[in-house]
């Protein structure tokens, strides 16, 4: 269980997260919607320990990310995929995917490489496994980013606007794989602007506005007139997003 309790995060005078409460159970796909600056990415960065909390508590399977000793365990259980890929440019696709399994899980190199090639194959990059990031398209790079996270066999996949830097065709490549993962029961926390896609794959949808969690509803209820749409801020956001 991924538990976020009364989380507060402040940057200078700005409160970016203000008392956010959220629980993600294994097997769930939870999408986080909200306009830019609403705190979505910061929430992900708090879960994987890249930002220090200014209040509240986050636990991943009971491991508190604010305690240095427990953070390592928490990080082993969550895999992050970044908006701008953040691949290691000096390593091939296989090198990128096998680094953490070798260094952190202490897998023998051969085994880690076999695992890396298998996962790259499953995201359709088998033939490009030995290419460097600079030789790959944006969609291919993000699929490497996804494979890198999956290689750690995380219990929770944290996806931070993973298609925001991609054109529609490349977005489709990546979303196709995410849909596949959702069907196979991978737990995901999915920060996105792809509303239609979120609607298709999510069990629940959470809406953030100005660092506050406005609603946390089952997908169908979120898009119903009596549920999420009853909030003027959400109705406004959805109508704007769907016009584009």
């Amino acid at each position: 269980m991924l538990a976020i309790e009364k989380v507060r995060k402040v940057f200078g005078a700005t409160t970016v997260l203000d008392g956010v409460e959220l629980v993600v159970e294994p097997g769930e796909v939870v999408s986080i919607l909200g306009s830019s600056g609403s705190g979505k990415s910061t929430l992900i960065r708090c879960i994987n320990g890249l930002e220090r909390l200014d209040g509240g508590r986050i636990t991943v399977d009971g491991f508190n990310v604010s305690k240095p000793r427990e953070l390592a365990e928490a990080r082993k259980r969550s895999g992050t995929v970044f908006q701008l890929f953040n691949l290691y440019p000096h390593m091939t696709a296989v090198g990128n995917v096998m680094l953490a399994p070798v260094e952190v899980l202490k897998l023998p190199k051969k085994e880690a490489e076999a695992r890396a090639r298998r996962i790259l194959d499953s995201v359709g990059l088998g033939p490009r496994a030995d290419a460097y990031p600079a030789q790959l398209s944006g969609g291919q790079r993000q699929r490497v980013g996804l494979a890198r996270a999956l290689a750690m066999e995380p219990r929770y996949l944290l996806l931070d606007e993973v298609t925001s830097a991609l054109d529609p065709e490349m977005t489709a490549e990546v979303l196709g794989i995410l849909a596949e993962l959702a069907r196979s029961g991978t737990t995901m926390l999915f920060v996105t602007h792809e509303i239609e896609f979120a609607r298709r794959i999510s069990n629940r949808i959470v809406f953030l506005d100005g660092g506050r969690l406005v609603v946390d509803l089952p997908t169908a209820a979120f898009f119903s007139a009596a549920g999420g749409m009853a909030h003027p801020r959400i109705a406004q956001f959805l109508s704007k997003m769907q016009k584009d």
Partner: protein
Amino acid sequence: MRYTEFTPYDIVLLAQGLGVSLALFLATSAIGLVLGTLWAVTRFYRVPVLSQALAFLAELLKNSPVLVQLFLVFFGFPAFFRVNVTPVEAALITLSANTAAFVYVIAVSGIESVGRDQIEAARVFGLTRWQVLRRVIAPQAAAFATGPLVALLVNQLQVTSLISVIGVADLTKIGNILNLRTLKPFVVWTVVGLLYYLAAKLVALIGARIETRLRAHSAWRGL
């Protein structure tokens, strides 16, 4: 026999001088590279006191003439610490420390050239600071730093000529001796200069090879 003539043995003398210059260059470069890199690592780990002290020492070494540092070690150390310093020891200490100071500056900028996103990407998967330094930062910093490092080493090769002043029989010292004997400065210093030039070219060539290898991953960039 007239002593102002060149003899075949002079070539052996010049080769010996070149050997001494190259040996000192290689030894001080190796020590300087290791020391300078270690200094940069203490800065990466923000070791209190030590990292500030080393940054200050590097500042002193970078901003004072090598010749003055050499005199300080060769004449100053024996007087102050009451130890005997041979010319070769003085040359080794001075040139190694001087190279280390410049390597430190280049290594620090190399480490800082690696983006935060790279460090974060490795940290979220549970790599320790040391693993991040070794597997993610160092290879990228090395690719960044090779160009400046080769330029530095080519320059440090020329700087070794200063040690002739305290009596080390390097290439310049041999040139000086031949010059005094033959009284043909134009010939002697042209040959000596050419030998330094060839050695420097060799260093640059090896450096370029290493740089190409370290940057293999970005070979497609710019297409």
